[in-house]
């Protein structure tokens, strides 16, 4: 078992489910409900017979009662395309332990849950650019391979949501669930992030990785702060006044994230990188279910 993913991890994943209210059609059979009116066992609706329909699906009881031909429609279980975007920019690897560990663990959990319900999972790592997608192979072995893949991820420069999601368009993909696991510290600002996500029509889950020092930094006095991604230097004297202004700015950032998630009807969770991931899954999986 790997250092990030242990047996407890898999046991927890087995208890969780991702439940999509609407699965885009076209996927293979799985456990998600699809609007495809297929021949499954769960009756859903009638429709009028048109020539060419399968006569075995005609509801003869309804014909006897109405004298008209109707077909039974059933829920067809299909796969959900889960796209897990893992931020591997430089900021995710600066601290000790790095936020990238929490990101990888959360991504691994999502992968394990989705793979457990036969959903299709693609891992997209990004930073300054979008890495080539990695499709998780089917089966239990695929989950372990996904764990290995996640563990081997390397830092990838500074965060650029705009470039990443522009590059996403070049890849044909089935719409489904997009899970973005990131600290969302894009030097261009949060507005640029929202602009970059506008074309994304998938159901959205925003997992914001945070730390206690984000809200309450320990720095004091004369310092030169160096952005680990852009290498931009900011010289300042950290006085109580300046600290208060920083904290206000950070709170505004977090509130804006919340408002955007509410606007997009996206799931949002603040995952503390200093707390074990498994103890924070309830933020996403309410009663064990991530409803999207």
């Amino acid at each position: 078992m790997s250092r990030l993913f242990d047996d407890e991890f898999l046991r927890t994943a087995a208890r969780l489910r991702i439940l999509a209210q609407q699965v885009p059609p076209g996927g293979p059979r799985a456990e998600q409900r699809s609007p495809d009116r297929g021949t499954g066992l769960e009756f859903r609706d009638f429709r009028s017979y048109v020539p060419g329909d399968d006569l075995r699906r005609v509801d003869w009881n309804a014909y006897r009662r109405s004298g008209r031909l109707f077909l039974r429609l059933f829920n067809e279980p299909e796969t959900l395309a889960v796209h897990v975007f893992v931020d591997v920019s430089q900021s995710m690897f600066l601290e000790a332990p790095p936020r990238a560990n929490t990101a990888r663990q959360l991504a691994g959990l999502i992968v394990a849950v989705a793979m457990g319900q036969a959903d299709r999972v693609t891992i997209w790592s990004f930073g300054a650019r979008l890495n080539r997608p990695w499709i998780v192979p089917n089966g239990q072995a695929g989950v372990h391979m996904a764990f290995k893949y996640l563990e081997d991820l390397e830092p990838l420069g500074q965060t650029d949501f705009t470039a990443v999601f522009q590059a996403l368009h070049a890849y044909p993909r089935r719409k489904g669930l997009v899970v973005i696991i990131s600290d969302f510290f894009d030097s261009r600002g949060i507005a640029a992030i929202f602009d970059a996500l506008r074309p994304v029509q998938d159901r959205l889950v925003l997992a914001q990785l945070v730390r206690g020092v984000d809200a309450d930094p320990p720095h004091q006095g004369e310092v030169t702060l160096v952005d680990c991604e852009t290498q931009a230097e900011t010289e300042l004297q950290i006085t109580p006044d300046v600290l208060q202004r920083y904290q206000a700015n950070y709170r505004t950032f977090c509130d804006t994230m919340l408002q955007y998630a509410a606007q997009r009807r996206a799931a949002h969770a603040r995952i503390d990188a200093d707390v074990p991931v498994l103890t924070q899954v309830e933020q996403l999986f309410t009663l064990g279910v991530l409803g999207v």
């Binding site: 004369e222 310092v223 160096v226 900011t234 010289e235 300042l236 700015n249």
Partner: protein, 559 residues
């Protein structure tokens, strides 16, 4: 121009040291204010916060230079404090001031529980406080025996304690003598000076006009119409040492001239006569009570009328007792000397047939008897062997005089005034000689050296010498060496032939005053130092500056 010296280093050296320290401090300060580089996950939120909190005040903009200046100020203050700065003046640039504070009987006057002496003390300290720091000041306490309470080279801070130890005398002060002593002190400085008399009366006009220094009077108390007996002294007759005149010195201070009458009675109640003087305000003069026997009796001298201050209207004076002394001349081989001594009215030559102990042993060889000895050299050689001298004090001034001069017997002989005279120096005779000097100069001694040389034997000075020496010895023996209230001072003290009050003597004089016993040797390099209070002040400023710097640092106002 006065020069500044810091712990022995000239100012330019100290400034160079400070400049070097400033450079070093500047380098350290640059290292100190160099901000810490901290990598962070993002500067998004810091950048805006810093922009919003840009240095809006002058203090914030210049906080680094201000911090450096604060450090430099602390360094300068500490250097200044440790350097013990001293401003050096040449003596010629100083003013020399002598304050003569009256401690005579009139200063005992009390007005509403406060005496004139208290006022005089306060006025004296006030006058000193008004003098420039670099000026020289000495203080003479003026009572019947004027003496120096503070020498020029002593710190002014010692004066209050010394004045606290002084009480006004129960006799009038000899202000004239004190003023002459003050003038002497200033003359030694060869610079301009001022004498400040703090007294209930103005300086005697006659005396003040003879001063080389300017005399200014600070009056204390409310002057009252007062006549006073200032002093009395017995002056023996030339032809009869057993009789003499009593010279009584009087003074008067008032609004208009008046007659002052003096009466004299002995202890048997006999009226010895009265004399009168007409004195103007501030004037002093003397009356003589003539032909008084030197029998050791007590005279009561009084003024005839009451005035504003009656303490000084009466004087009790004890006459000297001068009986003929038994003198043994067995050791005198010179027949003429024996004859001359035999004819002296002051001594009685005794031999084995005469009863009574010998009080004087007169020999013509050097000896060391227990009794005072009149030694006469017979060898024709100068007596140049030094002898220890014992001071027999009467007036305190005598006790203070230096015993290293030619007249005291220690040191080389004086040159001959003429061919046949020289100064005689020998053991106890020196003591007698000292006392002769201590007695007013109408008993002036002409020293004569006798030898076997025939040309000297018949020298007319010999008789005079012998007579005066014998009488002086007798007078010395019988002079009243008593507590101060029995010994009078003579205004003719100022005419001390050949004895000058020098700067070195003032130091010695002050050591004999009733001081606080805290005197200690001090250098006489002409320093007018800042003193302990300056050091404390500078250190306090440095501590305050360091405290301010620490507070600003803690409040994160400065690095």
């Amino acid at each position: 121009m006065p020069s500044l010296v810091l712990n022995g280093f000239p100012l330019w050296a100290v400034l160079s040291l400070i400049g070097g320290s400033a450079i070093l401090l500047g380098l350290l300060h640059c290292l100190r204010v160099r901000p810490l580089r901290v990598p962070v996950v993002t500067t998004l939120f810091w950048h805006d916060a810093a922009q919003q909190a840009q240095a809006a005040t002058l203090h914030k903009r210049f906080r680094h230079p201000l911090t450096y200046m604060l450090l430099l100020a602390i360094c300068l203050l500490l250097t200044l404090a440790l350097g013990d700065p001293v401003v050096s003046y040449d003596d010629a640039q100083r003013s020399w001031n002598v304050i003569v504070v009256d401690a005579g009987v009139s200063m005992n006057t009390h007005v509403k529980e406060r005496s004139w002496w208290n006022e005089a003390r306060t006025a004296t300290l006030s006058q000193i406080g008004q003098l420039p720091v670099h000026s020289r000041v000495a203080v003479i306490v003026c009572d019947p025996f004027p003496r120096i309470a503070l020498a020029f080279d002593e710190p002014r801070e010692w004066l209050p304690l010394r004045l606290d130890a002084i009480q006004p005398a129960n006799m009038p002060a000899d202000r004239a003598a004190a003023l002459r002593m003050a003038d002497d002190l200033i003359q030694q400085s060869a610079s301009a000076g001022e004498i400040i008399l703090v007294s209930s009366h103005a300086a005697p006009t006659r005396v003040a006009e003879t001063m080389t220094a300017q005399v200014r009077t600070v009056l204390v108390g409310n002057p009252v119409d007062n006549a006073a007996i200032l002093s009395a002294v017995f002056a023996g007759l030339d032809n009869d040492p057993q009789r003499g005149n009593v010279v009584v010195r009087l003074g008067y201070w008032g609004k208009a001239a008046r007659n002052v009458q003096v009466k004299c009675r002995n202890d048997r109640g006999d009226d010895l006569g009265s004399k009168a003087l007409r004195l103007s305000p501030g004037e002093e003069d003397a009356v003589v009570i003539e032909n008084v026997p030197a029998d050791g009796s007590t005279l009561t001298i009084t003024l005839d009328q009451e005035d504003g201050l009656h303490l000084d209207n009466q004087l009790i004076f004890q006459l000297p007792s001068r009986p003929r002394r038994n003198a043994s001349v067995d050791n005198i081989r010179n027949p003429q000397l024996r004859a001359l001594l035999d004819g002296s009215g002051a001594i009685r030559v005794i031999d084995s047939n005469t009863t009574g102990p010998a009080e004087l042993l007169i020999s013509d060889a050097l000896s060391h008897p227990t009794l005072p000895t009149l030694s006469i050299a017979a060898s024709g050689k100068l007596i140049d062997r030094p002898h220890l001298v014992t001071a027999v004090g009467n007036a305190s001034l005598v006790a203070d005089l230096e015993f290293g001069g030619d007249m005291t017997g220690i040191g080389p002989a004086l040159e001959l005034a003429d061919r046949d005279t020289a100064c005689l120096m020998a053991g106890e005779y020196c003591v007698a000689a000292m006392n002769l000097q201590a007695i007013p100069p109408y008993l002036r001694l002409s020293p004569v050296l006798l030898s076997d040389d025939a040309s000297v034997r018949n020298h007319p000075a010999l008789a005079v010498f012998l007579t005066r020496s014998a009488r002086a010895l007798a007078g010395w023996q019988s002079a009243v060496v008593q507590p101060a209230d029995r010994v009078m001072s003579d205004p003719r003290w100022s005419d001390r032939a050949g004895i000058h009050v020098s700067a070195s003597m003032t130091t010695r004089l002050s050591s004999n005053t009733a001081g606080t016993q805290d005197e200690r040797p001090i250098s006489t390099s002409g320093k007018a130092g800042f003193g302990w209070r300056w050091f404390q002040t500078i250190i306090m400023l440095a501590v305050v500056a360091a405290g301010v710097e620490a507070v600003l640092h803690v409040r994160a106002r400065i690095p």
